[in-house]
């Protein structure tokens, strides 16, 4: 007995368009949050290399909060609480029409759903990324720091030219894994109404047919391409 998959119901007409839009939103969220997560990871890594104790506690505190609470809860908080605490002017500006901020595929970069998702995922994944980089740094033998110091390299130069390249090399596979996780975690943002692949699949589901199969294949395809790209990029 085969599972009935109604491809025609998914790949034609309105459902096909919805799915394409969902894919565009998933890709846009992944790219924006990927950049955001990278920034967060770099900033946290910089904080954690600081010799100052209060700054170290601060960075550990941030890691602890974002690592130990569910992503779903974080997204709901950013969406419902975060949007609410913005000044009224900013809220009005955000909900107004901004045609320049709408990408092809009807991806609105300033929609509260998109902002909450991109921001929330940046922080959540950035924290995990910084942990991977930290693990990569910890795996570097002490002699590397000493060699850099013995040559008169300052702390910034030894981090940028000696330690980080090795840390990233040590942590390459887990770092790629975190970026792939980010892409897949965008599906959770459908809970705040982000119209990405999973959201659209549910819409189609209630409209005419099975769409989760199509959604799953889309994730798989995006993930596969992303993995190849990231691994090829990381090798260079």
């Amino acid at each position: 007995m085969s599972i009935p998959i109604d491809w025609a119901g998914v790949l034609t007409g309105e459902p096909a368009r919805w799915l394409a839009e969902g894919l565009a939103v998933t890709l846009a969220t992944t790219i924006v949050a990927g950049l955001g997560a990278t920034l967060v990871a770099v900033s946290l890594t910089a904080l954690r290399l600081s010799p100052s104790a209060p700054i170290l506690w601060l960075s550990r505190g941030i890691v602890s909060v974002f690592r130990n609470t569910p992503l779903l809860v974080q997204l709901l908080v950013w969406y419902f609480v975060g949007f609410g605490v913005l000044p009224a002017g900013a809220r009005a500006w955000l909900v107004a029409d901004h045609p320049w901020a709408v990408l092809p595929g009807n991806v609105s970069l300033l929609a509260p759903e998109f902002l909450a998702a991109a921001w929330g995922l940046s922080l959540f994944v950035g924290v995990f990324l910084s942990e991977e980089i930290q693990a990569g740094l910890n795996a570097i033998p002490r002699g590397q720091r000493e060699a850099a110091a013995s040559q008169g390299l300052g702390s910034w130069d030894s981090i940028a030219a000696v330690l980080l390249p090795q840390a990233l090399r040590n942590a390459r596979q887990p770092v790629v894994g975190q970026y792939l996780n980010l892409m897949k975690l965008t599906s959770i943002a459908c809970s705040v109404g982000l119209a990405e692949i999973t959201y659209q699949a549910r819409v189609i589901e209630s409209y005419n047919s099975h769409a989760f199969e199509a959604g799953t294949i889309l994730y798989l395809a995006v993930g596969f391409v992303m993995e190849r790209l990231l691994l090829a990029g990381g090798r260079s």
Partner: protein, 254 residues
């Protein structure tokens, strides 16, 4: 300041917690001299030379390098002091992600702010000096232990230091590679650079050193020219150390 000694230790102590590994060392190393430091493991040899460029933080006492108090140097002054003192590690500590050439040029570019062409030229020169001109584009992982240590020596030479410190440079090498590294160091000794070498290679010490320091339990037990040291060290501990290390079963320089 060329009249000041290359290194001067004044009553230097160094503790790790409750453990005092250097217990009052005063010592002057003159320009152009070759000093070998030996002694049993745990005697404080490595700590002593790591104190010179402040890889070990000071506990008590002062170390002057070319007239500059290394205990007080901070920031830029410390970086320049370190850049003028080449340091060669037991484990080479080459940067594994950089080629031999890049290992040599990194500090030239970052610390001495040399341009790429200028730094590459220096790299070519110092790699040729250690006999590895043809390995400039190799990564450390592609080189033998002896070659890696020679690249590390080239890296230490790049900034044209007047002082080179060697921390057991051949202890991590397979016996057949010790000779090539010692030959490079011997060559440097003839060029008038001040060398301080922590080593157990007594054949090397006997033929190259101007002066041998025997360190035991954080104190200089013996400080003499090689002929005196090997013929009749005054300290019983030094004689005991020598009799152990010079046994026919101990591999020395080939």
């Amino acid at each position: 300041m060329s009249s000041s000694p290359m290194i001067e230790f004044r009553d230097v102590h160094k503790s790790f917690g409750d453990l005092e590994v250097i217990r009052g060392v005063s010592l002057t190393v003159h320009r152009g001299s070759v000093v070998v430091v030996c002694g049993p493991s745990g005697s404080g040899k490595s700590t002593l030379i790591r104190r010179v460029n402040r890889l070990e933080t000071p506990s008590r006492g002062e170390v002057f390098v070319d007239g500059i108090n290394s205990s007080l140097a901070r920031g830029e002054e410390l970086r320049l002091l370190r850049s003028g003192v080449g340091f060669v590690f037991q484990q080479f500590n080459l940067y594994p992600h950089l080629t031999a050439r890049q290992n040599v040029t990194l500090a030239l570019r970052k610390v001495l702010k040399q341009g790429k062409a200028e730094a590459d030229e220096v790299a070519e020169e110092v790699l040729a000096q250690v006999g590895l001109a043809d390995k400039a584009e190799s990564l450390p992982g592609q080189l033998s232990g002896g070659q890696q240590q020679r690249v590390a020596i080239a890296r230490a030479l790049a900034a044209k230091p007047e002082l080179l410190l060697f921390d057991e440079p051949t202890s991590a090498l397979d016996p057949e590679m010790i000779g090539e590294v010692l030959a490079v160091i011997r060559d440097l000794a003839h060029r008038g650079i001040t060398l301080v070498v922590v080593t157990h290679e007594m054949g090397f010490a006997r033929t190259v050193a101007d002066r041998i320091l025997f360190l035991d339990r954080g104190i200089i037990e013996e400080d003499s020219p090689p002929e005196t040291f090997f013929r009749g060290a005054a300290s019983p501990r030094a004689r005991q150390f020598l009799s152990r290390i010079l046994s026919p079963l101990h591999t020395a320089e080939s």
